[in-house]
């Protein structure tokens, strides 16, 4: 009993420490980048990446909640991002007469989150009945369906209100009216509302929601479900409820990030939110460490900048990216290589520190993949 208490206590400290790290890195990153921007140290192309980086960090953290904490492989995160993006754009256009920029932005982000959350509930009910690879493929299918449906949605706005149709001919606008969504062309003529500071706040909000959820009774139930579903159910936890909480929270946060992302560009097409984008976000999560929130933040930031930083390789840029990805995956997962690095870091730690290293039980680590 005593050891159990001790372990729980050390777990709590572990969570608190990692939460502090996550907030700290975000704040430090924001402050440093802001100073560098005002000092003119950051190139224009990189400055254009600042809002997308914030959006990707939010997306990575929210996907980590689904993949890492809840243990369900989702391959359709870009679908929720797309719903958030387009409903956010529509909301921003509807409320364009409101006085302050940030009021419109907040409304757009909230609407984006709301719609993505509704989609999350609708998709989550059937999806969470499935397991492993079958669940993964259904999230992929939903992601593709969302993109396909967005390809045939046309939305126009005039003084009489919104008009929605599945073809260009179905919309009859008056002279003051304008199109918001043009099917495969997507949203055109979007007013840029997103700022780096808004992005920073959204990342902080995402972290606040996710870290508090993880560190709550609900979060522990979700993780218990991930580590051993049958055992968790036999002590009276409802699998569907807890998995749903994680899934829908992930969807809402993805929708909010999607709205932020879309309002950073003047045009956004549905093709931007295809399967590749889902994979792109999943790569952040896996490279940053499954279940590791701080890792997601760092890898999302680094990997969004990486293609930019690899400009000098020009044509070889994405090829280099692919090779880096494969090598990192091999180096961090191959048992022999892992043993090598572990031995090195153990030596290093023995030399320089006396703190104890907290380690997850090996078995839980293996089962986290979810695609067994």
């Amino acid at each position: 009993m005593n050891t159990l208490m001790k372990m729980t206590k050390s777990n709590m400290n572990q969570y608190k420490r990692s939460a502090l790290w996550s907030y700290g890195i975000t704040i430090a990153g924001f402050v440093i980048v802001s100073i560098m921007v005002s000092a003119g140290l950051i190139s224009n192309s990189l400055q254009g990446q600042l809002v997308p980086i914030c959006a990707y960090i939010s997306l990575a953290v929210s996907l980590n909640l689904v993949v890492g904490i809840s243990g369900e492989l989702s391959l359709g995160h870009a679908g929720f991002m797309a719903i958030g993006a387009f409903s956010g754009v529509i909301a921003a256009t509807l409320f364009q007469s409101l006085p302050f920029l940030w009021v419109k932005l907040v409304i757009a982000i909230l609407v984006g989150g709301l719609f993505a959350g509704v989609a999350g509930v609708i998709i989550g009910v059937p999806v969470l009945r499935l397991r492993g690879d079958y669940l993964a493929i259904v999230t992929l299918a939903f992601g593709e369906i969302i993109r396909n449906v967005l390809n045939v949605i046309y939305v126009g706005l005039d003084e009489k209100g919104l008009q929605v149709s599945t073809s260009m001919d179905g919309i009859h606008l008056s002279e003051q009216g304008s199109m918001i969504l043009n099917g495969p062309m997507g949203a055109t003529g979007v007013t840029k509302l997103s700022t780096f500071f808004a992005g920073f706040l959204l990342v902080m909000f995402t972290l606040f929601v996710v870290l508090n959820l993880i560190n709550s009774k609900h979060g522990r139930a979700i993780m218990a479900m991930r580590d051993n579903r049958i055992a968790a159910e036999s002590v009276g936890l409802s699998a569907t409820n807890f998995k749903m909480t994680a899934f829908v929270t992930g969807a809402i946060l993805a929708g909010m990030a999607g709205a932020l992302f879309a309002l950073n560009y003047s045009t956004v097409a549905p093709v931007k939110f295809n399967f590749n984008t889902s994979i792109f976000i999943l790569v952040f999560v896996v490279l940053g460490g499954i279940g590791n929130i701080t890792g997601s933040i760092i890898s999302a930031a680094v990997l969004t900048i990486l293609p930019e930083a690899l400009r000098q390789f020009s044509d070889y840029r994405m090829l280099t990216y692919a090779i880096v990805l494969i090598i990192v995956m091999l180096a961090t997962n191959n048992p022999q290589l892992k043993a090598l690095t572990a031995a090195a870091s153990k030596q290093f730690k023995a030399k320089f520190s006396r703190t104890r290293v907290y380690k997850r039980p090996q078995k839980a680590d293996e089962e986290m993949g979810g695609t067994k």
Binding site: V67, V286, D315, A322, L325, I326, M329, P335
Partner: protein, 294 residues
């Protein structure tokens, strides 16, 4: 165009999906991994055969053979370099590595062949269309050959899996890796063979796909890859007859919904049907039921 013509068109596209899905399902059955790079092996196969036609003027069968050899070697090399070191680790790590390989192949092809689409001359350009039943059924040579080749592959593979020693070894490994090893089966060899067969089939699928849809780009393999993967899951991943059935049904649904419902929404309908099937039968049409133990 009549319903019958659409149906044969669907069968032909479905045959291509079935051949690709075989690669996914066999690899999944034996190595328990989703080989996301499979779609890009199709694309490489397409490019190799394209080169043998346009630059080397080789006869069709020799070009196809060369494409199969290149893809087989490629499949084995990928398995040895990227997947084998990760065997037994978390399946998500293998998945991301497979995605890395997929990016690598796409971008390598982009560097070598450029992003402009290449026009693939069909293998059967000289043959004429056949009209049956007063023009109600139009069969293109591509359709006939695709369906024929698919049937041949299915029969050949079924015989190989059930009758030969290697086939038995492969089934044993997919059943229980450790027990197979204890029985003296060379597990590494069995897995390599699976990758080799899957990749050779991918080359065939690449040629058939490009004969029917004659544009070849570095991303050509991506979408058919995802669809074929869907087909494999549809039929029950890990099951060879399931991949065939899943591929055919998916192809027919796609062509029919493209013809009668909506071109833009055909993909959405395909994926919608997949979701409905998985809700009714959570492990696919012919998939094995998983019993859970505490």
């Amino acid at each position: 165009m009549t319903a019958l013509t659409y149906l044969t068109g669907g069968l032909s596209l479905g045959s291509v999906y079935a051949i690709i899905a075989l690669g996914y399902t066999m690899v999944y059955g034996i190595a328990k991994m989703l080989n996301f790079a499979h779609g890009d092996v199709i694309m490489i196969g397409g490019y190799v055969v394209f080169c043998t036609f346009t630059y080397m003027n080789l006869p069709v069968w020799l070009g196809l053979l060369l494409g199969m050899v290149v893809c087989t070697v490629l499949g084995i090399v990928i398995e040895k370099l990227a997947y084998k070191p990760l065997r037994g680790t978390s399946s998500l790590a293998v998945l991301i590595t497979a995605i890395g390989v997929s990016y690598f192949l796409q971008n390598a092809a982009l560097l070598v062949f450029g992003s402009a689409p290449k026009v693939f001359t069909s293998m059967f350009a000289k043959a004429n269309n056949i009209e049956l039943a007063d023009g109600k059924l139009i069969l293109t040579p591509e359709t006939i050959f695709t369906i024929l080749i698919c049937v041949l592959i299915m029969i050949g593979l079924q015989v190989f899996i059930t009758k030969t020693k290697m086939g038995k070894a492969m089934r044993a490994v997919s059943e229980d890796n450790d027990a197979a090893r204890l029985m003296g089966i060379n597990v590494n060899q069995a897995i390599s063979t699976t990758f080799a067969i899957g990749s050779a089939l991918a080359a065939v699928a690449g040629v058939l796909l490009c004969s029917s849809y004659p544009t070849l780009m570095p991303t050509t393999g991506a979408m058919p890859g995802i669809k074929a993967f869907t087909a494999a899951v549809f039929g029950g991943i890990g099951s060879i007859p399931g991949a065939m059935v899943g591929g055919l049904i998916l192809g027919i649904i796609e062509i029919l919904s493209r013809a009668y419902i909506s071109t833009e929404l055909s993909d959405a309908i395909v994926f919608g049907v997949l979701i409905v099937v998985l809700l009714v039968k959570p492990t696919g049409l012919l998939g094995r039921k998983i019993t859970e133990k505490v």
